[in-house]
């Protein structure tokens, strides 16, 4: 079976700084893939490369078998990659409902002129966008906040809304950048269950960057360890946990 996402010898340099060097990563469909590594290891850069915010200096990125290197972020999103951000980037002044609708909207098909004159496919499209947005919020337990502005939500719910918004793109690959950042142990445990549920319900492949080892070890089928832009190790949680190089570089005494 061919991989859903394939990163082939990708290198990313910012001036003299080499953020990612000769990185190889292959993610099969249906897998939850964890990426760990110390700060500055190039994890977020890798996400920015996959989603087209940066263009790699060298190497190719393939998704669903075709080359997406150099595509614009919007095109990559429409091709089926959704993401969240390390420092939440919601549309803060917009309502919770509009936040997910904007992601759904990109799958609506009506012409600007149809919108300007309120004719044709416009009406049905709008109905559909509201219904689907509300449905998604319902599933995430956010429906009661639909009319609130996103910035009025408490922190944890903002994180959850960001995941909902990423799923509204209807991705086959979901990239989560530190979803448990700023959460305590109990919240992290709840998040683990929540992500497992999403994975089953939306049939989505996941790549997540995370520092909370319990979350990564419990959720992921496969783990890649990055250090200074290089792949240090790769394998199942058990293999990675046992890898002496990883223990030395990152996990310290083996249990963070």
């Amino acid at each position: 079976m061919s991989a859903l996402l394939e990163i082939d010898r990708v290198t990313m340099r910012f001036g003299g700084l080499c953020a990612i060097s000769d990185c190889r990563l292959s993610v099969s469909a249906g897998v939850a893939h964890g990426i760990i590594g110390p700060n500055g290891a190039g994890k977020t850069t890798l996400f920015n490369l996959i989603t087209g915010i940066y263009r790699p200096t060298e190497g190719r990125i393939r998704f669903k078998g075709h080359d997406i290197t150099g595509w614009r972020p919007a095109r990559i999103a429409l091709d089926g990659i959704g993401r969240t951000f390390q420092n939440i980037r919601l549309f803060k002044a917009l309502t919770v409902l509009d936040n997910v609708r904007i992601a759904y909207d990109t799958q609506l098909h009506y012409h600007p002129l149809e919108a300007l004159a309120r004719v044709g496919r416009y009406g049905r499209g709008e109905e559909e966008s509201i219904a689907r947005g509300l449905g998604l919020l319902e599933h995430f337990g956010l429906a009661e906040f639909a009319t609130l502005r996103a910035c009025e939500l408490p922190y944890g719910l903002q994180r959850r809304l960001e995941i909902a918004r990423a799923l509204a793109v209807q991705p086959s690959l979901l990239l989560l950048d530190e979803p448990a950042a700023g959460m305590n142990t109990a919240e992290t445990a709840a998040l683990t269950t929540f992500l497992r549920d999403i994975r089953a319900h939306f049939q989505v492949t996941m790549i997540l960057i995370e520092h909370h080892m319990h979350l990564v070890m419990n959720l992921c089928d496969k783990i890649t360890v990055l250090d200074f832009g290089r792949t240090l190790a790769e394998g199942t949680p058990a293999e990675v946990r046992a890898d002496p190089r990883v223990i030395e570089a990152y996990l310290g005494d083996g249990e963070a």
Partner: protein, 293 residues
């Protein structure tokens, strides 16, 4: 050939003036990444302050004293505007600060217009003389403009790259969030930047008034914004870029007026700006800012 040489001299002195005004835009942009739209109007005010000083001073003020006074007054006004109108908006969306700057500029120019609705003649500050260098007429005034501009630019370069203040200024320009942690007062650096930047604008206004001795309230928009074009062409935020841009624009203007009807001058300058902004938005020597995701 003589005609060409004559126009070249004119282009150089105009280029120096544009560069001098452009430096103010570029300094503020470098430190605050904000376009100080009011700068052109402060430049205009420089000419008017000079006119007031010459007219109402009981004793005839020599040129260097006049220059320092104009720079101090305009620089002080620049600091005041920053303190009252820009500083409260430093954390606000950047568009707010741009709008405020545009508003301040319009207030200054229209106050001047309301007080002095007509153009005024600039009195002579000193006796001008002409020299004939290889068949090319060069006035003492042109030499003075070139000399003073050059001195101010070299002074600024030394200040920014050779002094502690300059180092602090570059640090603020690089990362305004970290600098306070090093015990540097960002506010003081920004105030000083405005003092120097708008002071240079004032000096340019005075020199411009002497070179083209009919001054009016619309000078800020007509000339000041041109200088801004110069700064953008060279690469805004970059001191050397401002000088380069000033020369390019000065040359283009002088030679387009020499070859086409003079009404085409603005059309050509602004079209040049549009083309540069579209194809090389950060100018010839400028660099694109890094966006952190």
């Amino acid at each position: 050939m003589a005609y060409f040489a004559q126009q070249s001299v004119n282009a150089i002195s105009l280029g120096f003036l544009y560069a001098l005004i452009g430096l103010g835009y570029t300094m503020v942009y470098g430190v605050l990444t904000m376009i100080n739209f009011a700068h052109g109007d402060l430049f205009m005010l420089g000419a008017f302050v000079c006119l007031l000083l010459v007219t109402f001073s009981p004793v005839a003020l020599p040129f260097p004293v006049l220059l320092v006074l104009v720079m101090a007054i305009i620089g002080g006004l620049g600091v005041l505007i920053e303190r009252l109108a820009y500083r409260p908006l430093r954390q606000a969306p950047r568009v707010s600060a741009v709008i405020t700057a545009l508003g301040c500029g319009l207030v200054i120019s229209n106050v001047t217009l309301s007080i002095s609705p007509y153009s005024r003649a600039m009195p002579e500050v000193f006796d001008d003389r002409y020299f004939n260098v290889l068949g090319v007429g060069v006035s003492l005034l042109q030499l003075l403009i070139i000399g003073v501009s050059l001195a101010l630019m070299v002074g600024l370069d030394v200040l920014i790259y050779r002094t502690r203040f300059g180092m602090a200024l570059r640090a603020v320009a690089f990362d305004a969030k970290t600098v306070p942690l090093m015990g540097i007062s960002v506010n003081r650096i920004i105030s000083l930047t405005f003092l120097i930047g708008t002071g240079l604008g004032g000096a340019a206004g005075m020199l411009y008034g002497m070179a083209f001795p009919v001054i009016s309230a619309s000078m800020g928009v007509l000339v000041g914004w041109k200088a801004f074009i110069a700064a953008v062409i060279g690469g805004i935020g970059n001191i050397r870029g401002a000088v380069l841009g000033g020369f390019i624009l000065g040359t283009v203007e002088i030679f387009s007026v020499a070859m086409l009807p003079s009404t085409y001058r603005d059309l050509i300058s602004y079209s040049l700006l549009l083309v540069i902004l579209i194809f090389k938005p950060y100018g010839i020597l400028g660099r694109a800012p890094n966006v952190k995701v």
